[in-house]
Symmetry: C2
Subunit: 200 residues, 2 copies
């Protein structure tokens, strides 16, 4: 099959992989961009796949204060070098991420592995109870709970949320794009969100 | 004795008490300003004394990012009404307090009652050990430890720190002044400080 040049360009931007690898991936994936991304990841050919896991000791602290000081966010986003940390494009991402944390749904954790087991067990229990009350057959309850847990993650975990500037992009995919673009691993280390009057 | 008009003015600014009360306090204190402040506090005549303890559900979240994004602070300062929260002078104090948290010595707690007992016991033990190693007599060690603990508090507790804009003023005294000035209770609820690369 012939490979669309626009798709090659898009795939390169998304993964940072070489032209020939992108063409091969798109051929293997019959022109399906997401499948091509997965193919490159599996082959370890995307720049992002090679960068993830590298230590990130540099970075930027970003802040965002909203609603005349009623909501405030502080976030630490890390990269590998001070050179990237000083890049205005990197700093713009940090600002966007701070805004993301300020906006609903309010994230409570960075990634799904940060949700405490206790909280997860409780959530699971509530979801199972709801399914039973809705008279769902016992043999599908596990599946329903797993599905709803995904929704829960997509609300409370920053990496699983849809990006406020592009609903189709998850934050973790945004990071992958930026890892490709900057050629460095990028991680979100931590954030806090204060709202005036909230119980603590 | 005759009372100095400048002192009356200073005392009024500091406590918000009435002119006659300030004159009486300065007479009782033989012109010693700090004693006059204490006198007004004891008598419950300072505005600040009357305001402290009142609930503070309004306020402002302030942020301060320093050193090109290497250090960031988020702080919540509360007051009683949104009217005061919107006052630019109040917001300037919040900004100053955020800067204070960013600067060394880095505060870890709001007030001395926020220092965990465990940490305090450990600090006490270290200080006693140091005093013993310096061959101090056993009967004065308690006194030495208490004195050094005060120094510890003045470093790790924001309220006990010297204000970055006026070394002679503790943060808690700055708040007292502002409580008088605004006629509302003002409290520091919480703060966080992020520094890129620090262990967490």
């Amino acid at each position: 099959m012939s490979v669309d040049a626009g798709q090659v360009k898009e795939l390169r931007e998304k993964t940072g992989a070489g032209i020939m690898d992108c063409k091969k991936a798109l051929t293997e994936a019959s022109g399906d961009l997401q499948k091509a991304v997965d193919y490159l990841r599996q082959k370890g050919l995307s720049v992002a796949a090679k960068k993830v896991g590298r230590s990130t000791d540099e970075g930027v602290i970003g802040s965002y204060v909203h609603m005349g000081g009623k909501i405030g966010v502080l976030i630490e986003v890390n990269c590998e070098t001070d050179f990237v940390a000083k890049n205005p494009d990197f700093q713009a991402i940090v600002k966007d991420l701070a805004m993301q944390v300020a906006a609903p749904p309010v994230p409570l954790f960075v990634g799904r592995e940060d949700v405490p087991k206790e909280l997860l067990d409780k959530e699971r229990e509530i979801l199972a109870q709801q399914a039973r009350e809705a008279k769902k057959p016992e043999n599908v309850i596990d599946k329903i709970v797993t599905g709803k847990l995904e929704k829960y993650y997509s609300e409370v975990c920053l990496l699983e949320q849809s990006f406020i500037r592009d609903e189709d992009l998850k934050i973790k995919d945004l990071l992958t794009q930026k890892i490709s673009a900057f050629g460095e691993n990028i991680t979100i280390k931590r954030f806090v969100r204060f709202q005036v009057g909230e119980k603590t």
